[in-house]
Amino acid sequence: MTTSARAPSADLLETDAGAIAHRLSLKRKRWRARLLPALGVFVLLFGWWAIVVGFEVKPFIAPSPFMVLNTLYAKRAILLDNLIPTALEAAGGFLLGNLVAILIATVFVHNKTLNDIFFPVALMLNAIPIVAKAPVLVLMMGNGVEPKIAIAALVCFFPTLVNMVRGLDAANPQAMELMRVLSASKTEVFFKLRLFSSLPYLFSALRIAASMSVIGAVVGEWIGSTQGIGALILQATYNFDSALLYSAIVMSACLSGSFFLIIALLERWLVRWQPQHVH
């Protein structure tokens, strides 16, 4: 009698307890996911500090983390002044390179002959290392922002071209047949089907291009420039100003990081459906 009366409430308690435990473990997992990477960064910084202090490394060889932090604040004006041109060059190159890549991919997908003629050429140009292409462009375009934008555009161009061609061809074959049954024009097939199918492919290329464009701009500034993060890196190196060098590196990393973030947010906003079979 008593057992049968108690059993349901005991059951209820048990499921409640189970639910609470489950919620707690979820919470714990979320905190773990945040704390563990932070711990990794802390270990790195601590190791860096320990080596610099423990081995009495000279400040012109490597600064301590505190020195870099100090310099980031003390020289914020000069760092920001040099960050802006680099950001503009990288962003300009990113837009130009990707836009041209998307347009050429569109042409390639619609004209197999042009694709077969020029795709190998693109492949060949891509095989030339960027540090070898950069001086050529500086000779042609002078010392202004143009060659930097061109270099940033070139490094973005290739991954986007390859992925975009694949993406535009990745439309579901039955959806392609459907468009034919509906007597859709090539333009309609492109804007209603191919373009959307290609978006997941395009964004995986844009995420690569986001950091590549910063590399391109910095490399362009190395070849000949008096301003920009690239120029600052060279100056700091020649002056043995390791703290400024590290600060410049931190700035360029922040720049590629924020580009990457913008692209990731844009993708989340644009691609809301679940892609079926994209890496």
Partner: protein, 263 residues
């Protein structure tokens, strides 16, 4: 509509053959198919894999040109019929556009027709009404990944019907669904067909499905794909699922099975 067109059979084939060319030579996918389908008829196409039943559907839809023979769809060639939007096609994997909601997927054919003719074709039912007709009232704003396989196929049927085609071609539309869902959709397809009265060609490799749905079953044999026999199904048009337990139905499926053994 001219009188000759009205009297013309929905689909009329004479000696239709399809040959596919590959790197190693050519394959005869269909050989000498003769078929006359009356307007408003429901024909099941049944046969083993590689018998060319999907190929035949694609010839009617002007997706594959026949390499020999002649085919008339509503009195004209398949291309003219396609351009007139007389053909609706339901694919095996629903082929919905994942970035469009159910309603937007159903509206797609109208958008394309509107761009071509300046106005959408006169439709008996609006996209919303069609979704209700296939039992999806309330799911208009759902995206394909939020729908089950059966619901996706319902959307795809509504999409095929939205231009009010006089011929509906269905390529194993329920092949990937579980049996319970498939039974329900079979019954509802018959209801929609009775309501709208279009001509249906329905490809399947299920004997029960072919017999339950079709007024006639076109049996195809493989290597090369050819018509083995066209079997009339002498069951009333108004069929419920329990008809499958009647002796007549069992006899029909037994006969189809015997023919399939020699295909």
């Amino acid at each position: 509509m001219t009188t000759t067109e009205a009297l013309a059979p929905a689909i009329s084939c004479r000696g239709v053959s399809v040959r596919f060319f590959t790197e190693h030579g050519s394959v005869m996918a269909l050989k000498g198919v003769d078929l006359d389908v009356e307007a408003g008829e429901f024909i099941s196409l049944l046969g083993p894999s590689g018998c060319g039943k999907s190929t035949f559907l694609r010839v009617v839809a002007d997706l594959i040109p026949p390499s020999a023979g002649s085919i008339k769809v509503l009195g004209v060639g398949p291309e003219a019929a396609r351009l007139r939007r007389d053909i609706g096609f339901v694919f095996q994997d629903a082929a919905l556009l994942p970035w469009r909601t159910a309603l937007e997927n159903v509206e797609l054919p109208l958008e394309i027709a509107k761009a071509k003719f300046g106005a959408a074709p006169a439709s008996r039912a609006s996209p919303r009404e069609l979704l209700a007709l296939v039992g999806l009232k309330g799911s208009e704003r759902a995206y394909p990944h939020e729908l089950s396989g059966g619901m996706r196929q319902r959307v795809s049927i509504a999409r095929a019907l939205v231009t009010n085609p006089r011929i509906l071609l269905m390529d194993e539309p329920f092949g990937a669904l579980d049996e319970i869902t498939r039974d329900r959709l079979n019954e509802e397809l018959l209801r929609v067909w009775r309501e709208l009265g279009m001509t249906v060609l329905f490809v399947t490799h299920s004997i029960h499905e072919a017999a339950f749905l079709g007024q006639r079953v076109m049996m195809l044999a493989a290597n090369p794909g050819r018509v083995q026999e066209i079997v009339p199904i002498s069951l009333p048009a108004d069929r419920r699922l329990d008809i499958r337990e009647t002796p007549e139905f069992v006899q029909i499926t037994a006969r189809l099975r015997r023919i399939l053994e020699i295909c």
